[in-house]
Symmetry: C2
Subunit: 484 residues, 2 copies
Amino acid sequence: MLRPIEPQSGAAAASALRVDLINAQYDLLRAGFPVVIVVAGNDRLGMVELVQLMHEWMDARYIQTHVFEAPAGEEVEHPFMWRYWRALPPRGIIGLYVAAWPLNLIGDRALGLISRKEFDRRLDQISRFERMLTLEGTLVIKFWVQTPRELIRERLRRAKKHPQSNWRVEPVDRDLHRILKNAQRDIHRLLACTDTDHAPWHVLDGSDERARNRVFVDVLATTLKRRLSTTTPPPPQEPTDTGDGSDALGGIDLSPAADPADNRRRLDEARSRVAAITRRARKRGVASVLVFEGWDAAGKGSAIRRITHSMAVRDYRVVAVAAPSEEERARPYLWRFWRQLPRAGQMLILDRSWYGRVLVERVEGLARPDEWQRAYDEINDFEAQLTQSGVLLLKFWLHIDRDEQLRRFHQRANTPYKKYKLTEEDLRNRERWDDYVAAANEMIARTGTAHAPWHVLAANDKRQAQLEVVETVRRGLQRALRSP
Amino acid sequence: MLRPIEPQSGAAAASALRVDLINAQYDLLRAGFPVVIVVAGNDRLGMVELVQLMHEWMDARYIQTHVFEAPAGEEVEHPFMWRYWRALPPRGIIGLYVAAWPLNLIGDRALGLISRKEFDRRLDQISRFERMLTLEGTLVIKFWVQTPRELIRERLRRAKKHPQSNWRVEPVDRDLHRILKNAQRDIHRLLACTDTDHAPWHVLDGSDERARNRVFVDVLATTLKRRLSTTTPPPPQEPTDTGDGSDALGGIDLSPAADPADNRRRLDEARSRVAAITRRARKRGVASVLVFEGWDAAGKGSAIRRITHSMAVRDYRVVAVAAPSEEERARPYLWRFWRQLPRAGQMLILDRSWYGRVLVERVEGLARPDEWQRAYDEINDFEAQLTQSGVLLLKFWLHIDRDEQLRRFHQRANTPYKKYKLTEEDLRNRERWDDYVAAANEMIARTGTAHAPWHVLAANDKRQAQLEVVETVRRGLQRALRSP
């Protein structure tokens, strides 16, 4: 069914290539990095042939193939890049992305579903996504099959005639052919803007099918082998300036509230208002993500309970973020948060979050400096995608001082609740207080963006902090409900 | 919002219960078994209150709550129990199943969606599911909230009047109330048939809300604590008779085919017929699962490629089953196969499968005798659910003899394909040939059922075996396409 590769030049060359390719795949299984191969183009039949060729020549058991057609169901409820994140392969495995972001983007633009400005914004997102993948250790190989339009039409006609091949022609072929009629400028722009050193485009001329297949396999085998023979990891970035000396936490007034009784009454009122508005948010399909960060014993748990108390249980999910699982460790670090994102109308409440990267992982040396340093941009990028897709994102830092923490630790030690029993970790973290202050200050300075500002709350007075959390959530949901 | 528990008897008793409950949950986190709590009943408001109470009194971050309403989307495309399997919590975590299988079953029956016979069949499935969960180490706690109908109506009316509680009343309440009008007999039957020692029903009288809450929390705390204090695992079953001496493999004629040339021609023909029929299966939404088992080097991989060669890549997925991941090890062993099940129109091809439990795990001592012995029934049950839901299931054992395996190992050692390089494991498995023969014979005898028979194929002649695989798949798909 597949065209042979250069039968003229002898079966020996093809056979050698094939052995190279499959051996590279088996080395990959042990090498421990993931591979993402993108196959897109203006020639769907050509793309399909390349994919079939990979399944034929390589071991399909270790290839996860995803054909990305128009988004449907849950995919529509999430940011543009969600389904590509979800499909990321673990280490050792090839994720074969067919059509995927390049062709989906071109299609959306050609159909007039997105503006020129949105097109450029997505190009930028894609570039950053591919950069992040590379820096996280994924090998990205991209192919664009470009075939003259007359030739595509001719081949579709020919394929349709033969019972051996007519099943390959689908309605989507005619549609795609029509849609891409005037897309040449956008295709050029896509290829130019996302052609980088770490994830270059390999444009395959589809005119000669044999040559196309040969170049495809050759690039695959060569790129895999080159990366497999590289023993050193990609060079870390230049250390960036760690912080601008900003001191968000130093400026917090931790003195107790003037009138505690008044706060109690206000909290009750605010809670019943939040209860009502969360139900409207569910009906209107507003998704939200609440991030809680802050010191141990700062009161994250009880603040969260203030929110959920009057919510219907099926409308929210509370997740405690701890060490990643094996499946999560095998992928880029933001993957485990992408996979948790809420559907329309749902609220995800995170007790600790992706900010672990620039807090505990930085302070405890669990992430390399180049890793946590680039995380600020990656996180800003992630959050921008969330908010642009209509998710309400609210980030809280609950702040207490060292004395207050010690007082609460003592209190805990005396409660009958085992969950509050102190661990050695609690005390160890406490010893590194100043390092955490520096990390938190830099985090707040670098990830407090216009679309996702930090709400840094004085939490020595618990009720005061809870009131502010509840009020902030209420205002946020109200804003989200007002927006179109 | 929640009714206090026995305020008359003093806050001290309630507080002690609460401390007990939360401490049990924290002990559970470290104890390493999962908990499934089912909350169902004829009183939805009551169920919701109990769920809210759990979220309030326990740590919601370690409770995974699932409200199972009418199945939708992907759920409809899978067996009845699929969504309950998917939601199973890992060790240390509570899966809170609201409505779930008991109420879904009663609802389906009351709506006339299933016959009396199907009702009984599902009762049986449910019993076996709960038994399997228990044997795999999950603690199952089931509550049924039963409230007099007049009282439910009265409470709905009252709740609707107050702005503090009217949001709790949903259209589903009226529907459920109406639907369950004549369901009392079915409810009795459900409670009677699925009330077992390992997963007894706790029927809560919803007349007195405070008493209901008190009993609920008391049962929860007591059951959790009792299980936490049990240091010994559940007693293993009596060893069953291992095999009836049946010798399916001994009866295989491994002599070469009469006319190899003829087989080549027939294979080509069969392949193009399969190619056509898989496309019809996709269009008609027929899902299929192909299981390949057999000796190392028996030719599983190449038989699979004969099937997939002419299929569209997006129509199938080939999965090599190896050691389970961390997330998989934290759940019952069939979980990882349930989560892989194909959607409508898709084919899942497994290179090794759940039969690892009674083959490699048995022979290598990776599963305890009671575990692999009960696996036969569990597997038969699983496969029955698959086929009853319309999935085409085909199971192949590719059989070669010891000499042929040695010949192929030698051949492999001399190919340039690294994937065929021999490992120590290959040779070790070979040494245990007789143990594997005994295990395979017993497996074939005990899991070769009417709905899912084994296709034991003589594979010394590779092409002959491939021809039979392709023909069996073709006939199976044809049969599935003919059935309504």
